[in-house]
């Protein structure tokens, strides 16, 4: 394994890495045979439904389940009383952490409802219609409280408190101060005051971003069977079977070994399918009835009650010196946590100024309770909000300095050795290469002409994560390898992981049969999240292949009666060092019985050599100044993948992230009314872009190998969602001269901004 960046640069002779084989799960998914959670059907299975809060903030005075229990076909009703009590303990979920009391009170409200749609009770019945009817028959008496809907409101001293015992932790210390502010943290680098004092030009603005949904197409679902011997099996749609097992075991107060989680195929997650919602309800309903219980959310439930990502309020200030170097940067970042603590200001703060080399930085972060569902990760969580602020300021600096925005980014680029404000010093990174690729692109060279048209640029960063992964593989006598791993496959990772194993063994990707296993069948593996899967589980597959290689070298040595040192393995062929004897991988695989029996490889990893990812977006848009509608004319995304194991998947991730970012930029938002009720809990009114709203998204993969990975892989899944909001805001400014500082930049908002600039008649 190469250890220095230079060892990778220029490597082009991979046999499997970098190719585009047919994906292993393709046929089943194309013909509809792949099994998702909602496809589950079992003998005697019951159907569950959830009673949800019609209020954003209320105390539960009483719950009367008697009418529901009396309905024919109803088999069980549960409330929070049916869940074991929890101590105040934090559980790490891989991407985000959870306090178990809060997790319990989130799956079933404990005395108080904290958001519209908060689960209050659950029912199991012989069919879904009966279950829903029973849910309607449960009488819940509420004392309605005033809802708190924005971080600004929630941070006021006299704001109603969501959690009576919540105190603020500030700079690592519990202040004892009761507040909706759960956390305040700070990153400091250099001397920001001096930096601003030295600056020639300082720009400062405030930004507001809406709460948004990940937009996975498959709703959450869970089927559970609690058998008479207290073995619990859960089938569900999740980004991480092991994190479901951990959370479910904790909530149900049973040892992890009593819970087996079977991950079904998953119809998207983007960070939203890490926390559990239905699993413990289905399990307890199953325990009460002795029958399997299936629960599937409606789209409305998904939008009302599962974790969206945080809305935020950000103040951002940056200063440049005479030479056009950024000398100081400040950010105040207040992010919504939703109804329970835990939010995304921290990762946002790691990303906000990350593409730049800035000597003096101060970042204050706040995570704040509001009466909305507990927030969850969403593709580079926190970073899109952050980049919307900082990249807008950068654009304004460039405008006032009259410099090219890409040249400015190049001049100020972070590179190997640059320290980020939150601490880390970069290893070899590819930000400069991304900016240079953008500068030399045909898109950037092509002038954009026409009235009300504009071009915007923005950069983005995501740090990516490593975490635990396991892989096991057995060599089949026909020369193929069966690979078992624990990463649920969202973006084609079965194949990108299998390819890393194939590369080592000199076999084709098609000769590996990858399988995602349940929690009893493979070692612990963290979530498919943090852009880690191809990086970390791929690494496990690589190690697993090395293990197989070593064992096969021993077999060849045994067969040829030579020392293992005299066996050479190259390009899928074993040979003796004098070249007198050779065996292909396939030939040797067929001789395992004669040489000692089956060969299995195994590996577990918890790698640290994570390589951060950068992206640059070029967006051309046109504003209809009469309606405020923004049309996307052309976009390009340039991203450092380290090494693109499967280029089509990398391009797909880049395009997907940009598509979601465009939705976030233009129309997506949770529309809460004054009472805190979600008024657009459907995909008709929660406006994600459709294919008619997006142009072809042009992709440029940059490959600056990550020195921390055997194939130079960086994570690719998240960073492309970071630049779009800012790039489009900058393009709108270029087109019509208004700075949009709130997301979404919906037609109504653009129209308002135009009116305040030109007056209503000025637009006609």
């Amino acid at each position: 394994m190469a250890t220095k960046t230079e060892d990778y640069l220029g490597i082009t002779d991979y046999k499997v890495i970098g190719t585009r084989p047919i994906r292993h799960d393709g046929v089943d998914k194309v013909i509809g045979r792949a099994k998702y959670g909602a496809d589950i059907d079992m003998a005697g299975m019951l159907h569950g439904a959830v009673v949800r809060s019609p209020h954003a903030h209320a105390r539960i005075k009483s719950i009367d389940t008697s009418k529901a229990e009396a309905l024919a076909g109803v088999k069980a009703v549960i409330t929070v009383e049916d869940l074991p009590l929890q101590e105040d303990k934090i559980e790490d979920l891989g991407e985000g952490a959870a306090n178990l009391q809060h997790l319990r009170a989130n799956v079933l409200a404990d005395g108080k409802v904290l958001y519209h749609g908060h689960a209050v009770a659950a029912v199991a019945a012989t069919d879904i219609h009966t279950a829903q009817e029973a849910a309607d028959l449960i009488d819940v008496e509420y004392e309605v409280l005033q809802p708190v809907l924005t971080v600004q409101e929630a941070m006021k001293e006299d704001a109603p408190l969501l959690l009576e015992n919540q105190t603020t932790e500030s700079l690592g210390e519990d202040t004892g101060q009761k507040s909706n502010v759960c956390t305040h943290f700070r990153h400091e680098l250099g001397d920001v005051e001096r930096g601003f004092a030295e600056a020639e030009l300082v720009i400062e603005r405030e930004f507001d971003t809406a709460t948004v949904h990940q937009g996975y197409i498959e709703p959450q679902n869970a089927t559970a069977l609690w058998s008479a011997d207290d073995q619990i099996t859960v089938w569900c749609s999740t980004q991480g079977a092991f994190t479901v097992r951990e959370q479910a075991a904790q909530i149900l107060d049973v040892p992890v070994s009593q819970v087996k989680v079977v991950p079904m195929e998953i119809g998207g997650g983007f960070g939203g399918k890490i926390r559990i919602y239905l699993e413990p309800l289905a399990a307890v309903l199953s325990k009460k009835t002795g029958r399997p219980v299936k629960m599937v959310m409606s789209r409305t439930e998904v939008l009302q009650a599962t974790g969206p990502t945080a809305g935020s309020f950000i103040k951002c200030k940056m200063g440049v010196d005479k030479a056009g170097k950024i000398v100081a940067a400040y950010a105040y970042m207040a992010y919504e946590s939703g109804g329970f603590p835990g939010s995304w200001a921290a990762p946002g703060a790691m990303c906000i100024f990350a593409p730049y080399n800035i000597p003096n930085v101060l970042i204050d972060g706040y995570e704040v309770l509001v009466n909305k569902p507990q927030t969850m990760a969403y593709r580079a969580p926190g970073a899109t909000n952050a980049a919307f602020a900082s990249e807008t300021i950068i654009d304004e600096l460039c405008e006032q300095l009259d410099v090219d925005p890409l040249e400015f980014r190049l001049k100020n680029s972070a590179r190997e050795g640059t320290r980020r404000a939150d601490g880390p010093v970069y290893p070899r990174i590819g930000n400069e290469e991304c900016v240079k690729t953008a500068l030399s692109s045909e898109h950037y060279a092509t002038q954009l002409n026409g009235k009300n048209r504009g071009r915007g640029i923005a950069s983005g960063f995501w740090f990516n994560v490593g975490l635990k992964s396991s892989a096991a593989a057995s060599v089949n006598s026909d020369g193929t390898v069966s690979l078992v791993e624990g990463s649920t496959d969202i973006g084609g990772t079965r194949t990108s992981i299998a390819m890393q194993l194939a590369e080592v063994l000199g076999i084709r990707a098609e000769d590996v049969k990858p399988q995602v296993a349940d929690t009893d069948s493979i070692g612990d593996t963290d979530v498919t999240g943090g852009s880690r899967t191809t990086f970390a589980t791929g690494w496990a597959a690589y190690q697993c292949a090395l293990d197989i290689k070593e064992q096969l070298i021993e077999r060849a040595a045994k067969l040829w009666e030579i020392s293992t040192d005299d066996v050479v393995f190259d390009d899928g062929t074993f040979s003796s060092s004098d070249s007198s004897k050779t065996l292909s991988f396939k030939e040797l695989a067929g001789m395992l019985d004669e040489t000692g029996g089956p060969v299995m490889g195994r590996a577990t990893v918890n790698p640290s050599g994570v390589g951060g990812a950068f992206a640059v977006m070029i967006a051309d848009i046109e504003v209809d100044t009469e309606t405020g509608k923004v049309e996307i004319l052309r976009v390009s995304v340039i991203q450092d993948a380290g090494k693109a194991v499967y280029p089509s998947y990398v391009e797909g991730q880049m395009q997907g992230g940009i598509a979601q970012g465009i939705g976030w930029a233009l129309n997506e938002e949770y529309a809460y009314n004054r009472d805190g009720l979600l008024t657009n809990a459907s995909l008709l009114d929660y406006r994600m872009p459709t294919c008619l709203d997006l142009p072809m998204i042009e992709t440029h993969i940059v490959e600056v190998p990550n020195p921390g990975h055997p194939y130079g892989v960086r994570g690719v899944g998240e960073v492309p969602i970071v630049p779009p909001a800012a790039a489009i805001a900058n393009a709108i400014y270029d087109a019509v001269g208004v700075r949009m500082t709130n997301l979404p930049m919906s037609p109504g908002e653009v129209l308002k901004a135009l009116w305040s600039k030109n007056g209503e008649n000025g637009t006609a």
């Binding site: 219609h129 829903q132 009817e133 009469e626 309606t627 405020g628 509608k629 233009l666 129309n667 529309a671 008024t679 657009n680 008709l684 009114d685 406006r687 872009p689 459709t690 008619l692 709203d693 919906s746 037609p747 109504g748 129209l751 209503e760």
Partner: protein, 291 residues
């Protein structure tokens, strides 16, 4: 969803007798793209009455004297796929081809769009400016109501209990006429109108002067509105009379009485009524010139 009975009468008379037979809450089914969604959201019915076996309700025909007859249960895609509609009623293509998506258009109907009576419905403005008539069957026989008089409030129409909409009659377009419909939505498909508008004009034989004009707007009041003042502002004016068109736009803005909701604000909708009125009029004039 609760359990309910289902009937598919073969004639108007059979449907009327089922409607008046004390069957409790009857849900009339055309394409079901509104009804079934409502049932899933908790609307309760005792009987579902499917109109799609009634010949008059599914007919789509044209006759030079009486014009176009659109059965109330005729799907949008059948309507915009009809060659007469394509050549002579392009404004009906405008509205029926942008409802929902292809799947919705294959099921959803203009009749259902009318009877659901959403203030934001997309077919009423065009149907209104074309001077159409709704044909309603009831216990006392048939009656006719002008399209602009069909709506009485959000979700409400002139239909009395025991009645149903059989068809919509659209007159044959006059010579030198044109009509146009458009809406404003934040996305490019699969959205509910923030505002919509339709216009129709009849030009003189030189095609330089507007002789007749009708303008209708939607999603900006409890019902779709025929804006008589907007039409009146155009009559007798030259096709390129910007002041007249602006007067029509002002009339639409004045007629609009919108609400603010998550789809748009009052100011935005009033403003859009004017913008869309202009674009509809220009589109209609263009089509009249090309006719």
């Amino acid at each position: 969803m609760n359990a309910f009975d289902y009937e598919a009468p073969q004639s108007v008379d059979e449907a009327i007798s089922l409607l008046s037979a004390g069957n409790g809450n009857v849900g009339i089914l055309a394409g079901g793209t509104d009804l079934i969604a409502q049932l899933k959201e908790g609307r309760k019915i005792d009987l579902m009455l499917d109109l799609k076996q009634i010949p008059e309700a599914t007919a789509l025909s044209f006759d030079e004297d009486s014009g176009l007859s659109i059965g109330a249960a005729t799907s949008c895609s059948k309507i915009y796929g009809y060659d007469v509609v394509q050549s002579r009623y392009p404004a009906l293509v405008d509205c029926t081809s942008l409802i929902g998506s292809i799947q919705i258009q294959n099921r959803g109907t203009v009749g259902g769009n009318f009877c659901n009576a959403s203030p934001a419905a997309d077919t009423p403005p065009a149907v209104i400016v074309l001077g159409s008539t709704c044909r309603i069957a009831g216990p006392n026989g048939m009656r006719e109501v002008a399209a602009e008089d069909f709506f009485t409030g959000p979700g409400q129409s002139v239909l009395q209990s025991g009645e149903f909409l059989v068809s919509i009659q659209v007159p044959t377009p006059a010579a030198n006429s044109g009509a146009f419909f458009l809406r404003f939505i934040p996305r490019n498909e699969m959205d509910i109108a923030v505002a919509n508008a339709a216009a129709s004009v009849v030009l003189d034989s030189e095609k330089t002067t507007i002789q007749e004009a009708r303008v209708a707007i939607g999603a900006v009041a409890p019902t779709p509105l025929l804006v008589a003042d907007a039409g009146a502002a155009l009559v007798g004016k030259a096709v390129d009379d910007e002041d007249a068109i602006e007067a029509a736009c002002a009339a639409s803005r004045a007629a609009a009485r919108p609400i603010s909701d998550m789809r748009g604000t009052i100011e935005q909708r009033i403003h859009l009524s004017g913008v869309l009125t202009r674009r509809a009029i220009q589109g209609a004039i263009q089509r009249a010139k090309e006719s």
